[in-house]
């Protein structure tokens, strides 16, 4: 599916997106069975952002950012733009002017398996960016790709309208139809973790809190008094 732009997509439920945003990447990743996480080379341009939104997707080619301009037209307020590349490339496909444009169009942020430039200016704008590199390398507008087709970005398959959650821990994708279910599971996990946190803060051990001693013994773990030398 190259050379196609899909204008309208179905987006995940807004309230589920809001919940997933609040929960953050690590909790959401666990809540959906430890799946959907992009590879850890995807790092935020600046620390402290936490966003979630429906994905508008774009597929670019190495050294070429043309489809980001095309995507800027079809993206809707609240969306996150997810940019994949047809082969490994770290060129600076996204800079301050495109950030200005996406911000003006209402995009919440961008996740790109390419490089980002104008690091100082975009950080100052507080526009959220996750990328594989910071690179000033300029790109061309020569090869058409696609917008709003399924892509693989940083190791994860994503369809337009799926939920993208991104923060300092990386980027996770939740399939559109699973959003509500995962949001609910995440909230349950959050509650459970609050209880665990309180007990751990008092010095209780995970060994007891999660009842691990028996399983460890069955697996053959042995305790020795020591010291050994």
């Amino acid at each position: 599916m190259n050379g196609i732009v899909v204008r309208n997509i179905q987006r995940a439920d807004k309230s589920a997106i809001d919940t997933l945003e609040r929960l953050g990447v690590s909790t959401v990743h666990e809540a959906q069975g430890r799946s959907g996480l992009m590879q850890p080379y995807m790092r935020p341009l600046w620390r402290g952002a936490r966003i979630a939104g429906a994905a508008t997707t774009a597929l670019c080619h190495p050294g070429d950012n043309w489809m980001i301009h095309v995507a800027a037209e079809v993206i809707k307020p609240g969306d996150v733009l997810v940019v994949a590349c047809s082969s490994e490339n770290a060129d600076g496909a996204f800079g301050e002017l495109l950030a200005t444009s996406l911000k003006a169009r209402g995009a919440k942020g961008i996740v790109l398996d390419l490089g980002c430039r104008d690091a100082a200016e975009i950080s100052e704008m507080h526009f959220p960016v996750w990328s594989r590199a910071i690179s000033a390398k300029g790109t061309v507008k020569a090869s058409v790709g696609s917008v709003n087709v399924p892509v693989v970005c940083a190791g994860v398959h994503i369809k337009p309208g799926d939920v993208v959650v991104a923060d300092d821990d990386g980027v996770v994708v939740v399939p559109r139809l699973d959003a509500a279910k995962v949001a609910k599971a995440g909230e349950e996990r959050e509650k459970k973790e609050a209880g665990s946190r309180a007990r751990l803060q008092k010095g209780e051990l995970g060994l007891d809190l999660y009842d691990m001693r028996k399983a460890l013994a069955e697996k053959g773990l042995k305790y020795i008094d020591g010291p050994l030398d």
Copy 2:
């Protein structure tokens, strides 16, 4: 050319250097036809510096920083020291004492295709450093290299006296004799981008601003209403 120190070099024009510093790496890289950019593994030790200066160059060997000491004598106030290495190496060839020395000699900063250490102390000094790694690994003073000879640093060929521009986006090199021309082209680009920025902020699309629609259609881009599933 090993084992040679050239005491005097011809430097790029001061006013061109000042303009290139203000413009920053991404604009300068574009203004000279997207060339001269060091590989993106060259990162600033701390965020927020933007410098430009004539290059004093040094060629070191892996695990050896002797030539940085030699360069400290011939460098002139306002220069940027550019250190290449004869093979890939990330040892901590530059630390706080050398930073103190270079600062005292008037160097504006250092760009080294090696590692840097004393990260906390140098950041506090606000001495600008771009390096391939942060590493405490100590180096020896055993093999002579050269100072002020042409080198390849992080993928870019650089001659003594060429302009080095460095900021949060990386490091770019402008040949000495091109400095004025590139500075002028950069200023024109800057003006043009200011106009584009204003229009993009109002929500105008790059598609229209840069008149891309016809070219995209000619390349075969097709729009579909969707949604697809």
Copy 3:
């Protein structure tokens, strides 16, 4: 030695540890003859921490953080937990709940040759972490490893009770029985560097301060007036 937990270990001398902490990684690494430094991919989660402590060690398996829970029981206040992995893996084996637990148990920090998650939360807690990656990838509790056995972590062999020093420059290990000797050597180095710093700040050259000119000439270094072109 798999499947073993050693409860009691011999720890390096407390006052030596305190001195090593104050000296920091680069000075300690030099003071013990440029050895013991972990590979430079080990980076702090947040900038500005400087810690030293006796090592409690753990050996985990890829994608599995079970032994960190086991280690939380035997670690003693003031220790640093050092986690090795039986093969290269960047999964998020350490997160905010484990940080809460280790903090409650008095650990000074953790050094793990695996990934870390909950980056925002742990940074806010100011719990010191050095890791090979930030990754939200969840881990299982399925395979037993060992606690308080000798391990190789990021290229360095470490025994329980050895001293771990970590700061923005990375992580260095000092064998338990060498701690006092290295601390003393480090303090001497520190004094000597203070003198060098003062002279370098005044513009004196390393060439003269370290008396390098003769050795450089003997190695064949030649000076040319230049400029060459």
Copy 4:
């Protein structure tokens, strides 16, 4: 979809698979519009194999090869086993005993985003393997994954029954329903290339054969007689 084994899948058409096998990876990749190629770190264990088959898929976890055993039951003669991993891992999940088993079950080969061991023995058996590494590192059987669910392997989304083509150039995936169409396009490309080859062998230039001179001139390419220095 974790913890699921799908026993029966729909496979791509046999005659299309045969054609795709004969055409090989590079031709097939071009014939389907330059898509579907796994990342180039996927290398053959031994040179000279060229296979195609319907994909039986498996999703493993780092350091764990349990699902390969599970897949060995549901795989059908002529299939290629495609093994993805939930995070980056190079452990030796596949060795000579599993190769013996898969061969006995009629599998044509295996493509695994993990490591392979028993390199000498498997090469001697001439069982085709593409992997990300050769590593003797042993794996456990502790965590369930899935078999015959969609996976992302080395950057490509693949569904059970899709066609996998692999040779010395790497691995490409053709969606099941596109197999016949891509096979046909590949044969056309093959014919066209035969004509081109004959002309190039005689010394004709690609510039003329593909009629590139006008486009190059329009893009601004300039010829200079030279020599320049």
Copy 5:
């Protein structure tokens, strides 16, 4: 321990070494509890060698191969030279002349966490080499390291006299005092695998051979008839 050469070392038992050589890396690694394996970037210069021997160790510095010459004097016939480096470096520290020398001194092969050059000549000599890279980069003889001290090579701690086993699967280290025990465990594993191989060749499944079905069910693995779409 820098600057030390230990002339005499205690070597592992000859008959254990012979057995470990015959068993090969993957079997030995499993037989000692999946430990002792060097990182998989250590690759043979040419395919088909399988050696084992007592380790003579050397510690070099980046870009410097002096200690290999020193080791050539103290190495004994049947030994394998293991060369570590004080920081990551791929320079060509070992070439055909050193191979000639080591061969003349009776060394069985070399394992070096550095680069190797003269690839064609050494392959023709059939001198076994495992290295991290092939590189023609020349090295100096300027910094002393040590010979026959404990080192970490490619992630494994090794003491002089330990057994090194190397083949197409990589390199594994067996501590000297464990050699006989591991050799025996390896032979048992070998026998057991012969039985498994025969059954797998007939098409029996690992699921049944290793009795995995119950454990899989307990872990929650579910079978679905399918096809799913």
Copy 6:
């Protein structure tokens, strides 16, 4: 210098090229003072080739091989085509049809800082290729670069007409005007090495042959009888 093709270049002396070819990469690299070596990721597609020739250079852009077609016209029999890329990219810019074309035009081989495909076919043709990767990824013909301008390829600055020497050890560049001098130095080195080889084969040590014992002692190397434990 983008968008320029220089038709005529000055080539290094033919007899010097012939000598350099016979000497091979490692000897040539040493003979010119250990400089000019491309980074070791440049590997031959098949083992056993050894070539040298004057360089015709090309500068391509990521994912684009257009300039290789342009270079095929201006290359002269006996030349080696050297292809640089404006940013890091491993796409398969060179395949069997281009190999057929270059062979027909008399090129001796190609060195490309990009990927190569049709590995089986080109190996069978015995056309010599050094590349950074094997990848089937197709490339476009959309952006003009340059031919016969100075480029940086795999870390080395090369001008048209310089000598390229390539074999199983990698690729080295000799400046055109230095070719005769380096060839002569290489022949002298060759003779000297023949003498050393004969002595090493008899078991003489490098320590004595190169008279290293005194220098080692001066650097502080100490011998201990051992064994240590």
